[in-house]
Point group: C2
Amino acid sequence: MHPRIIDTLKRNQLSVTDSRKKILELFLERKAALAHADIEQHSGDEFDRVTIYRTLQTFVEKGILHTIPSADNAVRYALCKDACTEGHHHDNHVHFMCDVCGTTYCLDHVTVPAVQLPKGYQVHQLDLVASGTCIKCK
Amino acid sequence: MHPRIIDTLKRNQLSVTDSRKKILELFLERKAALAHADIEQHSGDEFDRVTIYRTLQTFVEKGILHTIPSADNAVRYALCKDACTEGHHHDNHVHFMCDVCGTTYCLDHVTVPAVQLPKGYQVHQLDLVASGTCIKCK
DNA sequence: TAATCAAATGCAACTTTGTTGCAAAATAAA
DNA sequence: TTTATTTTGCAACAAAGTTGCATTTGATTA
């Protein structure tokens, strides 16, 4: 098991349970974003659907995962960088969604360029989602 | 009734029906993005849920509406500019979602900046969604 | 290590959201 | 006005998400 798993949970004052370990592990080994349905599939019948919902929610609140907006009614989740803490996300990198294989990547090294909005709009978060064909599929 | 309504429908070879007129009218008068649920509310019990789903789908296909990705499992729709035609959307403007009132705006005059992605990623679409506090709510 | 407390899980029931097929109704064309 | 085509509404269903509560598990303390 990945050494970061227990560490991450403890650092966030979460009790170490089977479902949390397993779900974190999935994210660590896949390195891609996962939707609720993906997790349900890849964890077999090991956990109840409800547990997965609640675990994802907890991880987002703690700053372990962030959500990636999409136009297909299937919100995806991905690991946050260490900069994220409880209630404070800093995931202003670009996300890429492949139209062919459906994989969603966090492009950690591509930062979202500054954008000049009309006066009066206060921006708290910027999400840039690109879609197209990924390296593997082209 | 807004004069553009019937015109828009005919230009896209769609028959002019009550639901299509009403839904288009909603978008024209509100000037903000609407989710399926919003439309259901604001049209009373006038139309069946299924009709609304199908109408939205048709409008997106025809290039009358475009979708706005979101992280809350509620895809929103907004009017396209005239440049959009059947199967070809050109809505590369920024969207702004207010955390307070929930309103989503198309910032038509703010274009999405070009982004340099790692080699191998072919981008077909770029969506930039900003969120924070809008003019009315600050 | 065992007992206790708090937190997380699983289950059941439910609500909401989205889809599909088909008959009836409305629109467009002749 | 009649006919052909499209769209709609209904029903039934499937999928996605939520809530309350009893049970189990993990953490804490003696």
